[in-house]
C-alpha cells in the first residue's frame, strides 16, 4: 500500500510539473523539424551552417516561383542587368540588432563567400553606388548565373559587415587571390606554385579564424536580416523569434518558430501525428500514411514536384543501344505506372511521353496540339514486339529476343545501392524487361562509386536522375543537363549530331545553347523547348518513369491556420528550400494562430 501511495504521489508531481512546463509557452508559435549541427555557432561558414534556420535568418534578393516563372522581391526592391553588371536596389531595412542594412553588407558578404567557399568567382567586383544601391560586376551574364545570384540565400546576408568586418581585409585578400587562380584555370593556364602556396596559407589562416568565430558566443546573438532570429538552441530544439526590424514585421502574426531536431523519420512521423509539429516533409510509405490519416484526420498532404525525374538512361557507347528501335521497344515494354507505384508511390506518374519537360510543368511549356504530334509510349508490349520484329529482331524458342545477327539481347540495369527508391525501380524494370524477353541482370553500384561507374561508362543501362531543374527551375536547366551536363557525360548521347525533325535537321546541343540565350523571351523560348522536346521524345536518350515529389505534411487548425490552397503556385517554392515557403507564408501574415 505504501508503494502504491508513493507511485501515486510521483505521478501527481509529474502531472504538476508537466502542466507548469507547458504553461511556460508564451504566445503563438509554429513548429517544424530540421537537422542542424550542434553545438550551434551562428556562423554560416561551416558544413551544415545553421540548418533549418537558414531561410529564416538569411534573405535572398528574390524568391522564384517555378509554376509561374514569377520573381517575388525580398531583399531587393528591383534589379536589372546593365551590360556586365547586375544592379540591385536594396530594401531599406535593418538587421535584427537594429543596425541598418546597406550595400556595404553585400560587399562584405561577397568577399566572405569567395574567401570561404571559393564561390561565386563570376562576381568580379562589387560597386557600392549608394546606401541602397549596389552593382555586381560579372564575368558573365548567363541567365543561370543571374538567377542564382538573385535567389540564392547566401549571396546577400551571411556576413553582416558590422559583425564580420574585423576579418574583411583578410577576406578580400583571400578572395582576390582565389579569383586570380580561378581565372587562370578557366583560361586553361597553369597556376604558379608560389601563388597557390600563398593562397593556401592565407585561406587556411582565415578559415581557422572564421570557423572559430561564433557570433552567438561572442555577441550573445547572431544578427540577421531575415524574418526570424535564432535565440535559443539546445541539442534537440531551436527557437527563433521574430525580427522586429524586418520590413514585414508588422504583418507577421506568429512571433515564434520552434524547430525540433530531425533525429529520425520515426520521430517526425510520431510528432506529426501527435500534433507536436505543424509541418514536415518526411518520406512515408503508403500504408503508414493511411494509418496516420486515421490517427489524425487533420493531417494533410501536399505533394510538390521536387523538380527532377528518375529515368532509365542508356550507355550510347554500347552498340546495342545505338539502335533506336530497341530503345523504343524498351519504352513500350515498360509499365511505368507500375514502376512508380513500387518505387515512389507519391511521385507523379509519367506513363505517356519522354520529352524531357517535367510532367508537372508540361502544360506551361508544351501546347496540347504539339503533344499530339509526339509518340505516346504508353505501356504497350504488343507494339514493342511489332517494332522489334520489323527491325529484324526475332524471339527464340527460349523466349529471348535476338538481334538480326542472332545475338541474345542481354544487358544489365545498374543502380546506385544507397538510393533505395532507385533500387526498387531498377528491380521492377529488370523484372518487366525479363518478362518481355530480354536477358537482363540487375547490377548494384556500391556506395561512393556512382560517379566513377557512370562517368567511366562502366554500365549498359542505369537508373539515374533524368531531367532535373535544380538551381534555375526552367526547361533550359533540364536540357542543359541532358545534352551538355551530367546525363550527357553519363550516356555519351551524340548531342552534337543533327536529328531529323519537322523543322529540319537539328542538333539538341545547339538548340540548348540557343534556348539559354532567349530565356527572357517566353515565345521564343517555348519554340526551342518544343524542338528539344521533340528530339528528346523521338530519339530517347533516356526513358523517364516518374517525377520525384516532395511530400509536405501539414496540420491546419491545431496551432496555426492559413495554409495555401491545393493549387496555389507558391507550393512550388518548396523544393530546394522548403523553409522559403514557410517564411513567405509567415511574413505575409497568411499563416496565423488558430485563435
Amino acid at each position: 500500500m505504501k508503494k502504491l501511495n508513493l507511485i501515486l504521489i510521483f505521478i501527481l508531481l509529474l502531472t504538476i510539473v508537466l502542466t507548469l512546463s507547458s504553461a511556460q509557452v508564451k504566445g503563438p508559435e509554429i513548429r517544424f523539424a530540421t537537422t542542424w549541427p550542434y553545438p550551434f555557432h551562428g556562423n554560416a561558414f561551416g558544413p551544415g551552417a545553421i540548418g533549418g534556420a537558414w531561410w529564416f535568418a538569411y534573405e535572398p534578393f528574390a524568391y522564384y516561383i517555378p509554376a509561374t516563372g514569377e520573381y517575388i522581391p525580398r531583399l531587393a526592391v528591383s534589379w536589372k542587368v546593365e551590360g556586365n553588371k547586375l544592379v540591385v536596389n536594396l530594401r531599406k531595412t535593418k538587421w535584427s540588432d537594429g543596425t541598418p542594412f546597406t550595400a556595404r553588407d553585400i560587399e562584405c558578404n561577397v568577399a566572405f563567400l569567395q574567401a570561404m567557399w571559393e564561390w561565386p568567382y563570376e562576381i568580379a567586383g562589387v560597386e557600392v553606388r549608394s546606401e541602397n544601391n549596389v552593382a555586381l560586376v560579372l564575368s558573365s551574364t548567363h541567365p543561370f548565373l543571374i538567377h542564382s545570384l538573385l535567389t540564392d540565400g547566401a549571396i546577400s546576408t551571411l556576413a553582416p559587415s558590422h559583425v564580420y568586418g574585423k576579418f574583411l581585409t583578410e577576406a578580400k585578400e583571400v578572395a582576390g587571390l582565389g579569383r586570380k587562380i580561378w581565372e587562370l584555370r578557366t583560361q586553361g593556364k597553369t597556376v604558379p606554385e608560389d601563388m597557390k602556396r600563398d593562397y593556401d596559407k592565407k585561406a587556411t589562416a582565415l578559415r581557422e579564424k572564421i570557423n572559430n568565430f561564433s557570433p552567438i558566443k561572442e555577441m550573445g546573438r547572431m544578427p540577421v536580416v531575415g524574418t526570424y532570429e535564432p535565440t535559443k538552441v539546445t541539442n534537440t530544439e531551436m527557437v527563433l523569434e521574430k525580427n522586429k526590424y524586418h520590413w514585414e514585421a508588422g504583418k507577421i502574426r506568429i512571433p515564434r518558430v520552434v524547430f525540433r531536431r530531425w533525429s529520425s523519420n520515426e520521430f517526425v512521423w510520431a510528432s506529426l501525428v501527435a500534433g507536436e509539429l505543424d509541418a514536415a516533409h518526411p518520406s512515408i510509405p503508403k500504408d503508414v500514411v493511411d494509418q496516420f490519416s486515421l490517427l489524425n484526420p487533420g493531417l494533410k498532404l501536399k505533394a510538390v514536384s521536387d523538380l527532377s525525374e528518375f529515368a532509365l538512361v542508356f550507355n550510347f557507347e554500347k552498340p546495342l543501344f545505338k539502335d533506336l528501335n530497341l530503345r523504343k521497344a524498351i519504352a513500350y515494354a515498360l509499365n511505368r505506372s507500375k514502376i512508380r507505384d513500387i518505387a515512389a508511390w507519391q511521385a507523379k506518374d509519367i506513363s505517356d511521353y519522354a520529352h524531357g519537360v517535367l510532367k508537372s510543368m508540361e502544360k506551361v511549356w508544351l501546347a496540347p496540339d504539339f503533344l499530339k504530334t509526339l509518340t505516346d509510349y504508353s505501356y504497350n508490349p504488343t507494339k514493342a514486339e511489332a517494332i522489334l520484329k520489323e527491325a529484324g529482331y526475332t524471339k527464340g524458342s527460349d523466349g529471348l529476343w535476338r538481334t538480326s545477327d542472332g545475338k541474345i539481347v542481354a544487358f544489365t540495369v545498374s543502380v546506385y545501392g544507397p538510393h533505395s527508391d532507385w533500387v526498387l525501380a531498377a528491380r521492377e524494370i529488370t523484372e518487366q524487361l525479363k518478362n518481355f524477353g530480354f536477358k537482363v541482370e540487375l547490377k548494384i553500384i556500391p556506395e561512393g562509386m556512382r560517379d566513377t561507374v557512370m562517368r567511366g561508362g562502366d554500365y549498359e543501362t542505369a537508373v539515374e536522375f533524368g531531367t532535373a531543374w535544380w538551381g534555375f527551375p526552367n526547361p533550359a536547366t533540364g536540357y542543359t543537363r541532358i545534352y551538355q551536363g551530367e546525363v550527357a557525360d553519363f550516356t555519351r548521347f551524340p548531342a552534337k549530331s543533327k536529328f531529323k525533325t519537322p523543322w529540319g535537321d537539328l542538333s539538341p546541343y545547339d538548340l540548348t545553347e540557343k534556348l539559354q540565350t532567349v530565356l527572357s523571351k517566353p515565345a521564343e523560348a517555348k519554340d526551342y523547348v518544343a524542338k528539344l522536346a521533340y528530339i528528346t521524345n523521338e530519339y530517347l536518350p533516356m526513358i523517364p518513369f516518374l517525377e520525384k515529389v516532395l511530400p509536405i505534411f501539414y496540420l491546419d487548425g491545431k496551432r496555426v491556420t492559413g495554409w495555401p490552397k491545393e493549387d496555389d503556385p507558391r507550393w512550388t517554392l518548396a523544393p530546394g528550400g522548403i523553409e522559403r515557403l514557410y517564411v513567405l507564408l509567415l511574413s505575409q501574415g497568411e499563416l496565423r494562430p488558430k485563435y
Binding site: 508537466l18 561551416g46 558544413p47 539546445t234 534537440t236 520521430f267 507536436e276
Partner: protein, 327 residues
C-alpha cells in the same frame, strides 16, 4: 607491485586498443567531405572532383596528410585528454562529449541498473519456482522480449506512449522553455522526458539479465552444497538468498561491468528514435557523414570506458568472491 603491474597492463591494453580504433576508423571507405562535395557540385554545376577539393578546404580535411602523422597526433592528443576535432560539427569532440554524455549516462545508467536488478531478481524468482506456472511464464515473456528487435520496441513505445496515450513527451531531454538546473521541477521533467528511452533500453536488458540469472540459478540449485543445505533443513528463502543467488550473480558482474563501459557509447537507435540528446545520436551522425574525427574520439571514449570498467569489475569480483580474493 601487483597493482603497478595491473596499471601497466591497463596502459598497454589501452594503447593497443586505441591504435586499433584509429586504424579501423581510418580504413573505413569514403571521404568526410563527400556529402558536402555533392551538394556543391549540384548547386554550382561543377565536376565532383573540383567540388571535392573545395569541400576539403571548407571542412579543413587533408586526405593527403600521411597516416602516420595523423596517428601520432591522435595518440598525443588522447593522452592529454583531447578526443579530437569533429569536422562536421566544427567543434572539439570534448565539447560534444561534455554536452551529450550527461544525458546518455542519465538514461543508460538508470536503464542498466533497473535492467540488471529487475532482471536478476525475476530470473532468480523464476528459478526458485521451478516446475510451476511462474517458471514457464517469466522465461516465455523474456524470450519474446528478446526476440523483438530493439527498433520495433522503441517505435512501439514511442507511438503507444507518446502518440496514443500521450503519456510520454516527444523528443528532447527537457522543454526548451525550462532552465536546466538541479531543482526538483527540472529533475522530474528530465526524468519524464527520459522515460521513453529508459523503457526502450531497460526492457530488453531485464529480459536478457533475467534469462541469464535463471540459467545460472538453475545450475547452482543442482549443486551438492545446495542439496546439503536442504538436508540440513535450512529454509528455502535462506538457501535462495545465501546459497543460490549469491553464487549465480557472480558471473554476471563481469558482464555488467563491461555493460557499464559500453554505456559511454550511448544507444544510437533509441536516442535517434526518441530524439534524445545523448552520445548515441552523435555516433549515428558521425557514421552517416563520415566524420572520422568524431568517430575516432567516441570510439576511444568507449574503449577507455570498457577497459576501466573491466578493471573495476576485477576489483569488485575479488571483493564479492572470496575464492578470487584468496588467489
Amino acid at each position: 607491485m601487483s597493482i603497478l603491474n595491473k596499471l601497466l597492463q591497463i596502459f598497454i591494453m589501452t594503447f593497443l586498443a586505441l591504435t586499433v580504433v584509429f586504424f579501423i576508423v581510418q580504413s573505413m571507405p569514403g571521404d568526410p567531405a563527400f556529402g558536402l562535395a555533392v551538394s556543391i557540385a549540384q548547386s554550382r554545376n561543377m565536376s565532383l572532383d573540383k567540388a571535392l577539393e573545395i569541400a576539403h578546404n571548407i571542412i579543413g580535411y587533408n586526405p593527403k596528410e600521411p597516416l602516420i602523422l595523423r596517428y601520432l597526433k591522435f595518440i598525443r592528443n588522447i593522452f592529454v585528454g583531447n578526443f579530437g576535432y569533429s569536422t562536421y560539427f566544427k567543434t572539439s569532440v570534448n565539447e560534444i562529449i561534455e554536452k551529450a554524455l550527461p544525458w546518455t549516462l542519465f538514461v543508460i545508467s538508470i536503464a542498466t541498473f533497473i535492467g540488471f536488478f529487475t532482471g536478476v531478481t525475476l530470473g532468480a524468482f523464476s528459478a526458485q519456482k521451478r516446475s510451476t506456472f511462474i517458471d514457464t511464464l517469466i522465461p516465455t515473456i523474456f524470450s519474446i522480449i528478446q526476440a523483438i528487435p530493439a527498433f520495433v520496441l522503441a517505435v512501439f513505445i514511442l507511438f503507444v506512449g507518446g502518440v496514443k496515450l500521450r503519456l510520454l513527451p516527444l523528443g528532447g531531454a527537457y522543454p526548451i522553455n525550462m532552465n536546466p538546473g538541479l531543482y526538483p521541477g527540472f529533475i522530474l521533467t528530465a526524468f519524464h522526458h527520459a522515460l521513453g528511452p529508459l523503457l526502450a533500453t531497460s526492457i530488453p536488458q531485464i529480459a536478457s539479465w533475467g534469462l541469464a540469472m535463471r540459467g545460472n540459478c538453475s545450475n547452482i540449485i543442482e549443486e551438492d552444497f545446495v542439496r546439503f543445505a536442504k538436508i540440513r533443513g535450512l529454509p528455502d528463502s535462506t538457501i535462495a538468498r545465501r546459497y543460490v543467488r549469491k553464487n549465480a550473480i557472480l558471473p554476471l558482474v563481469a558482464s555488467l561491468a563491461i555493460g557499464i563501459g559500453y554505456m559511454l557509447g550511448g544507444h544510437t537507435l533509441v536516442e535517434v528514435i526518441f530524439n534524445y540528446p545523448g552520445i548515441g545520436y552523435y555516433f549515428g551522425q558521425a557514421i552517416s557523414v563520415r566524420d572520422f574525427g568524431l568517430l575516432t574520439g567516441l570510439f576511444s571514449l568507449i574503449v577507455i570506458g570498457v577497459i576501466l570498467a573491466t578493471f573495476i569489475a576485477e576489483i569488485l569480483y575479488s571483493i564479492i568472491d572470496p575464492r578470487v580474493k584468496a588467489q
